[in-house]
Symmetry: C2
Subunit: 109 residues, 2 copies
């Protein structure tokens, strides 16, 4: 079992939360996630995910010029994206509760 498997589906919610706070572009997002302690984040994860979210209308995107390199694609949350985020938060709370309950009796030994 790799660490990456644990992330499946969970990153999505975290990305939505970050975007809600402030519009971001992909490259920036990868750096933020790493700062939050999510290890080993590659562009092969970030960009397909953002494009999928755009396709699902959870986010919108606009290109803006950069003074330090090629243009950046900034993502913002849609109403649908906000709703998805709320649902994620609910599910995350439930998951935490269930997992911690299972692990609790294990640590009682």
């Amino acid at each position: 079992m790799s660490s990456t498997q644990m992330l499946k589906g969970i990153i999505d919610g975290c990305v939505l939360a970050i975007i809600k706070d402030k519009e971001v572009y992909g490259y920036e997002l990868a750096e933020k996630l790493e700062a939050y302690g999510f290890e080993s984040f590659s562009e092969g994860t970030i960009y397909p995910m953002l494009m999928r979210m755009q396709r699902e209308e959870l986010v919108t995107a606009t290109f803006k010029k950069s003074t330090a390199g090629p243009r950046r694609k900034y993502y913002s949350l849609t109403q649908k994206g906000e709703e998805e985020l709320q649902q994620f938060i609910y599910r995350w709370k439930q998951l935490q509760q269930s997992v911690n309950q299972v692990l609790r009796f294990e640590s009682d030994d």
Copy 2:
């Protein structure tokens, strides 16, 4: 994003924790997981997972007779399985911390 995607890789650790507490058979495991609040658990998930764990030598299995149906395949944790469980717990704690930080919960657990 479905609820099932969030489970990827996380169920494994929970199953190891349950098995460590007491040897279980697949059918029983499914019921326990449901009791812990993990919804929608099918045998199409449980059995392939247990067989994979056996292949990876995280668990051992022995058949025992049942008085209420066909024989049961009981699973126990190996040393390797215990080590895997400890690693899962560590990763789970880290994941919780990262996600909760992103979501701006204050995690005291």
